[in-house]
């Protein structure tokens, strides 16, 4: 097609990461196309919880999530109502004295980086979330954590990108080609630079990428306004998220602005079917009910699954793809794609345009040396 335009950047994937990259590229004045075969924001983005959370599995993860959280705070005044951004804070639950010591260490780590964090003793925790079972030791409150509705957030970025001239191309990518992308229907998208932001499907275009799909389940209840006030996560979540091989569940509860309660979470490697697995769902719900027994009585209306794009060191791949000139990666975000999408877009655009970034980009470069992975709090 001789008359088709040549884009400065073509982004594969209109999930929240691809949409955020498109918004950043278009804002930088680049002629930007986003290619998506399904509904924008309808893949792993739609399956995610939408928890804007600082995580400290490693210093690099801490830096990226905090930086991105601050970027979300800058976006907050502009987010449409449908995005349901709510700074409800995260309560990291400690079930016993051992976990409480972990929570205190976590608090100190947050504070040393200038991130607000406070300790709640058992009484203060019970007052903050009366539905928690008695007997928990306490919690750390990360008050700046927030929640949002991911598909609407992805659409917000995509709409912004389009308002600045970006184009959504509906089509299925077949392969990366010289100077562009071949679509399944025979069309060719010509572009100077290509950004692969296809999440767990990225290995379909670049088989060597260190990304494995990691299945998760979620369940949402009917509306119970005022039932839950904070995102409530057990400290064991860190260990669950950190585990590399085994199936695991952790209590992770979220209050939606609608009054609904979102119940997570599970992590599985090796699962390929998107079907909800009753056994895994049950394990996850039992874990949640262990912290909040009254959940058992709430009416649930929907369960679903999604596939996180997991890397071995729990850090995303942001930067030039090794051995593929003009191809860039923005993928491998595991369970933190919603949180880190704005930071990913900022870091990637800084590299592509040769401008300085707000935080060091080295830990997220695709050709980084693998870490040993012993660093979490």
């Amino acid at each position: 097609m001789p008359n088709s335009p040549v884009w400065d950047i073509a982004i594969i994937g209109a999930g929240i990461v691809g949409c955020a990259c498109a918004a950043a590229a278009a804002a930088a004045g680049l002629r930007t196309a986003v290619i998506e075969s399904q509904t924008p924001g309808g893949g792993t983005t739609a399956a995610g919880m939408g928890h804007i959370v600082v995580m400290d599995d490693s210093p690099a993860q801490f830096a990226l999530t905090r930086y991105s959280q601050l970027l979300w705070q800058e976006w907050a005044p502009e987010l449409p109502q449908g995005v349901e951004y709510s700074r409800c804070g995260t309560l990291w639950l400690a079930r016993d004295e051992t976990e409480l010591r972990l929570a205190v260490a976590k608090q100190q780590a947050y504070r040393s980086q200038g991130v607000p964090a406070e300790m709640l003793d058992a009484g203060a925790l019970a007052a903050a979330e009366p539905k928690l079972r008695p007997g928990l030791a306490g919690a750390m409150l990360a008050a700046e954590d927030a929640v949002l509705y991911p598909p609407a957030a992805a659409k917000f970025f995509l709409d912004r990108a389009r308002a600045q001239g970006a184009c959504l191309i509906q089509g299925e990518c077949a392969a990366l080609a010289e100077g562009g992308i071949k679509l399944r229907d025979g069309r060719r998208v010509a572009a100077g630079e290509i950004v692969l932001a296809a999440g767990a499907q990225s290995t379909g275009f670049m088989p060597g990428l260190p990304i494995a799909p990691r299945k998760g389940h979620l369940l949402i209840t009917d509306r119970y306004p005022g039932w839950l006030h904070h995102q409530v996560v057990e400290l064991g979540y860190l260990r669950s998220a950190h585990s590399l091989a085994e199936d695991s569940v952790a209590c992770n509860l979220q209050p939606r602005l609608s009054g609904q309660i979102l119940i997570g979470s599970s992590r599985q490697y090796g699962a390929t079917s998107a079907a909800v697995e009753p056994g895994m769902l049950a394990r996850m719900l039992q874990r949640a009910m262990d912290y909040m027994p009254e959940l058992a009585q709430l009416s649930s209306i929907r369960a679903w699954t999604g596939f996180r794009a997991a890397t071995p060191d729990k850090l995303p791949l942001i930067g030039a793809a090794e051995g593929h000139p003009h191809v860039w990666l923005a993928t491998g975000h595991e369970g933190l794609g919603i949180t880190t999408a704005p930071a990913t877009a900022a870091l990637l655009l800084a590299q592509m345009t040769g401008t300085p970034a707000a935080i060091p980009a080295a830990p997220y470069l695709p050709d980084r040396q693998p870490e040993t992975g012993e660093a979490h709090a």
């Binding site: 399904q38 509904t39 924008p40 924001g41 309808g42 739609a46 449908g82 598909p151 609407a152 659409k155 369940l219 209840t221 009917d222 064991g236 260990r239 669950s240 585990s243 085994e246 695991s248 569940v249 952790a250 609608s258 119940i263 909800v276 009753p278 056994g279 769902l281 049950a282 394990r283 719900l285 039992q286 874990r287 949640a288 009910m289 262990d290 959940l295 058992a296 009585q297 709430l298 009416s299 649930s300 209306i301 929907r302 369960a303 679903w304």
Partner: protein, 426 residues
């Protein structure tokens, strides 16, 4: 741990198809469990009134009981996997294990949006009938029965028998089509129709007439009607408005059964679905009326019990019934004007407060759901999904557990509780 139940054949749904399937399978010597959400058998069409089983359902119940069918009412199937069903009841949870599963989940009314359709006292036609059977006082109330299909006459007759003042029966299909449909009814159906018409003697029946809007401040006060170029208002207390039926195929979808173009569960001539060991009978496989339902139930029951030879005399009767129903339904197809009734401000999804105008710009059901939340509420799109399919031709897909709202504690019992200490791997 949930209570366990097991049978060689589990039948979901205790209406005509389910009763017939359960009785037939049990008569072949199989252990059969028959489940239904209602406390008594009968389904929607033979729904018990004030706790009393109807005569039609009682006949089948006796046959099923004599054959040894175990009846369990008051149970909703909320989730399923190969060989298992999760059932919720008022007191807790049960898991039913099955070798063969017969889906007889019936149909629900097709409701189409028009301005004011969500006002209090606007109901489906079958919906109002069910409310009255459950105790709603309808005596001396002014009722307009509208929409489409054979159900309208039956509902009007029932409401009148209960003392309602039925003002009008408005059938949207043109008079010519209604007359042709009546002309082609088999003698037994014609007699039935004539009896219903007698029971509604004095109530005007207008073909080619439909509701354009329902109006009222706090609740329904009047209905705006249209017939050809004529438009007028009618004051009434209740509107019973349904546009026929749409199959309840969610449980089958969840188990991976293929669907027909009409959103029913696809079956072969022995009522077998695309998934091995799963069968479907009655309206869930396609709308064809009560006689086709119980005949297809018998076929499914025999076939699932491995006695296919017993189905031979039944197949032709079922096919005739289905063909005659399909001819009738084609004549009563919803007219194009109904698609234009819903305004941008008309509610589409009443669970999530989404208007027609909010959902309309999206390309498909999935996108509209994600961005507006339509169909994501407690009814899980059963009403607005069917309406969106009618309005915009959207494919409505992807049943997910729970297929009906279920307590979190119910779904938590799908597997034995693992010990907490081994829960999180370090």
């Amino acid at each position: 741990m949930p209570v366990k139940a097991a049978a060689q054949i589990v039948v979901v749904g205790g209406g005509p198809a389910g009763l017939a399937a359960a009785a037939s399978a049990a008569e072949c010597g199989k252990r059969v469990l028959l489940l239904d959400e209602n406390p008594l058998p009968g389904g929607q069409i033979w729904r018990a009134k004030n706790g009393t089983i109807t005569a039609e359902a009682e006949g089948w119940r006796q046959r099923a009981q004599a054959a040894g069918v175990e009846w369990r009412g008051g149970r909703q199937a909320v989730a399923a996997a190969t060989g298992q069903l999760w059932l919720e009841h008022a007191g807790g949870v049960e898991v039913a294990a099955w070798e063969e599963l017969i889906l007889a989940t019936g149909a629900r009314e097709l409701l189409l949006p028009f301005p004011g359709w969500t006002l209090p006292n606007c109901c489906g036609a079958g919906g109002l009938q069910a409310l009255v059977k459950a105790g709603l006082e309808i005596r001396d109330k002014r009722v307009l029965v509208a929409g489409s299909g054979p159900l309208l006459m039956a509902v009007a007759a029932f409401l009148r028998q209960q003392g309602a003042r039925v003002l009008l029966i408005a059938e949207q299909a043109p008079a010519g089509q209604v007359a042709a449909a009546a002309l082609h009814l088999p003698p037994a159906k014609l007699r039935q129709a004539w009896q219903l018409r007698r029971a509604t003697r004095g109530v005007p029946f207008l073909a080619g007439c439909w509701v354009e809007a329902a109006e009222g401040r706090q609740q329904l006060e009047r209905v705006r009607l249209r017939r050809g170029v004529r438009r007028w208002s009618l004051e009434c207390d209740y509107l019973a408005c349904g546009f026929g039926l749409t199959p309840n195929s969610e449980l089958g979808q969840l188990l991976g059964c293929a669907l027909t173009a009409e959103a029913g569960i696809a079956v072969n001539r022995w009522q077998q679905t695309s998934v091995e060991h799963i069968w479907c009978a009655g309206e869930a496989a396609g709308i064809a009326g009560v006689e086709a339902a119980w005949r297809s139930g018998e076929i499914a029951g025999y076939a699932a019990a491995g006695r296919q030879e017993r189905t031979a005399p039944l197949l032709a009767r079922r096919d005739r019934e289905q063909q005659s129903s399909q001819r009738l339904l084609r004549r009563l197809a919803p007219r194009a004007e109904l698609r234009a009734l819903a305004q941008d401000t008309t509610w589409l999804c009443r669970c999530e407060d989404v208007t027609v105008g909010e959902a309309r710009p999206y390309a498909n059901w999935r996108e509209a759901k994600l961005q507006t939340r339509c169909g994501m509420g407690a009814c899980q799109g059963r009403i607005c999904g069917a309406a969106a399919r009618f309005l915009w031709g959207w494919q409505i897909n992807a049943a997910r557990p729970p297929i009906l709202p279920a307590r979190v504690g119910t779904l938590a019992q799908a597997a034995p509780a693992p010990s907490i200490s081994t829960e999180v791997t370090v």
